[in-house]
Symmetry: C2
Subunit: 413 residues, 2 copies
């Protein structure tokens, strides 16, 4: 954790209502840090439906393997999240640690091990001592409460400078439902996935396959459209749980994602996912500027996203933005190296509303002063028109500062 | 240019012999900087054969377009290189600037415009005032001399902290020949190509198609295996010229690259290209550590190179190395995100001779102290065995320091 909060942090946190059927507690299990909460237990008193999206790393952490295996069962009763140790690249002992943690949680909550989900964040390659969970999970289950979302978000922070929470309401067939989510991020943030850990819960009554479809579709324009440093964690985990408590209010269970009654819920979920993903970028390690990059006129939406991420991940673009330098030549460079079709003589580039380049050269009406004013803002919109087709994408990133280097140059010490 | 020389700079420069048939001169044309040389003229008094490899950027600079077009002619009489302005993304005026520069050079040297090669390095997107060359090229041609390689290397520097030169000798059919090369680099360095500009000349008598085959093959394990910041320039240019003067000593002209008499020349050329490429990395912007990354046991050589570059371009790996932190978990992360086949339970990782991880977890014999000692060195060898096949690759990079951010945060100002 950093001592100073990101200048891009939200000015205030929303009131996070309880979600019926969800209780949470935190504890200090002493995984790595002393005298700070480092484990979160989320309990669903009745079986919840569940969906998950995980890192595409070829070297995923043991908890990611564990969650993927349980997902086919489709039922969640408990989630255990720890910070301080990622339980990644820990070999046979890593798998044993997930089994032991799940056993402790299943005994504490009274459920099957295949109804437990796990996530770990922190250092890679260090063995995780899962015996430490056994002593705390029982008490955590007894003391878990519903009014706990902000504290839960705090418990899973590592180098984050502020907790990330979001809440939305929606209606399904005239019945009001609520969606809450928490995230942690800060470094090793890139598609796919962008956040290290994010947990979303709702009281809506939605079957697991429908929930999975909603989540898989929602992750594209949100968590998979943000990047801090192009580095993909071994542990990235986004999970969505539905307790079904809204059935008590008469909400008819939704079985498939194409059910038209999901329109409001889908919109609210997508909005919440984007909110959480952007909070992750705004807390990118060392970030001082938030950058929204929109690419239009590419050959396809997919090509537009490749180009946008090439710009967003370019160290030279990101350092220029850190220096408040409207160095649009580096945008051209990043378009050119993306590998996607581009014609330099059709390119147009904007910083904010200032068009700095058009038709393959500097805009004749280009004003350095106007662009400099844009660059001094905290939020920098960059737009690039490729001029070839109708493909379009927007991604978000932050600047690359000396603080990023400082934070990551001695993370383990 | 930086005030302080990279700590990784060579301790001394080799004596650079003249290459028969090559003369050079520099001048201060006032392209961007005042009171410093910013233009280099290389003259071949008799037509030289020529080969070139250029950026794969989809938005190449005007000089790159110009060189590519002339290459089919296969003859070189003059090369004009300027620093301070890349003449990239300069539209119709950029093309006009190359035409005017070539016209001035052809008049000064007395050759065809299609025998002139051009390269420009510096800021992208600013119009290049090519009229400034007309006044200096005539005098430069008159005063050009063969004993000028180090000065030539100095003239093409931008953010480089030292000039990059290399020389080798070889024999072709019993006749001794010499190869000299100069490079500039420093930032916006990634495959393909890795250097922004490099010019190599020899007195050997080799036909252009054979020369091109040698150069295209030689670039893979040298310039295309180094990366500073993953950013590919719009201007990357590597050219090889052969004056044929060794024919005077009885060297029989080589027509094809598979001629067995080329063995010594090929080895010397490849060694020189690697030397220059590594000098570029050792002068990476803000570099304090040189990192050699060898990947073995991948599915193929190509897969090994993708994995090695994923490691080399990871900001988290590079900042850890800057912090002298043996954070091998980030190596695992970079292997995992590369997209190539990997099995975390077969991975082994070494820093120097210290094996820190094996069989998917920390090496039981792992010594933090021994690894820390390796990390304090200036040159850090990293080896990763994937354990799946026999694919192998080595790439070179440098660490990512606060100085990189500082240099690139206000490059234009």
């Amino acid at each position: 954790m950093s001592d100073s909060v990101s200048p891009l942090a939200p000015k205030s946190y929303p009131d996070m209502p309880a979600i019926r059927g969800v209780r949470m507690a935190t504890a200090a299990a002493g995984i790595k840090y002393k005298n700070r909460t480092d484990v979160l237990l989320m309990v669903f008193d009745k079986p919840a439906t569940v969906a998950g999206v995980f890192t595409r790393s070829k070297c995923p952490s043991a908890p990611v393997d564990f969650c993927r295996a349980n997902l086919s069962h489709g039922v969640a009763r408990a989630v255990v999240v720890n910070s301080g140790n990622a339980n990644a690249f820990t070999g046979v002992r890593g798998k044993a640690a997930t089994e032991l943690t799940a056993k402790s949680a299943s005994e504490a909550v009274g459920c099957g091990k295949n109804e437990v989900y796990l996530a770990s964040t922190g250092v890679i390659g260090e063995p995780l001592d899962a015996t430490k969970f056994a002593g705390v999970l029982g008490d955590m289950n007894s003391g878990a409460t519903g009014d706990f979302w902000l504290e839960a978000a705090r418990a899973i922070m590592t180098t984050d400078t502020y907790p990330k929470v979001a809440t939305r309401t929606a209606e399904i067939g005239g019945v009001n439902v609520t969606i809450n989510g928490i995230s942690k991020g800060a470094g090793m943030i890139a598609p796919d996935m962008a956040t290290m850990l994010s947990f979303v819960a709702t009281d809506a009554d939605i079957a697991s396959p429908a929930l999975q479809s909603l989540l898989s579709a929602g992750v594209g324009p949100s968590f998979n459209s943000v990047t801090v440093d192009s580095d993909t964690s071994t542990s990235d985990t986004l999970m969505l749980f539905a307790t079904g408590a809204a059935a008590e209010d008469g909400q008819a269970r939704i079985e498939t994602a194409d059910d038209p009654r999901l329109a409001s819920f889908r919109a609210a979920l997508n909005d919440l996912l984007k909110d959480l993903a952007l909070q992750v970028v705004r807390d990118g390690e060392g970030a001082r500027k938030m950058v929204e990059i929109t690419v239009t006129g590419a050959e396809s939406d997919a090509a537009a996203k490749v180009i946008a991420l090439s710009i967003a991940n370019s160290p030279l673009v990101k350092t220029a933005i850190a220096g408040e330098d409207a160095n649009w030549g580096r945008i051209v460079m990043a378009v050119g190296k993306s590998g996607e079709m581009a014609d330099r003589d059709r390119l147009a580039i904007w910083f904010g509303d200032v068009r700095v380049a058009v038709d393959g050269e500097r805009d004749p009406a280009y004003s350095e002063a106007a662009t400099t004013a844009v660059m001094k803002e905290q939020d920098i919109p960059v737009k690039v028109d490729i001029g070839l087709g109708s493909g379009r994408a927007t991604v978000w990133t932050c600047d690359l500062t000396k603080e990023y280097v400082a934070i990551n140059g001695d993370y383990r010490s």
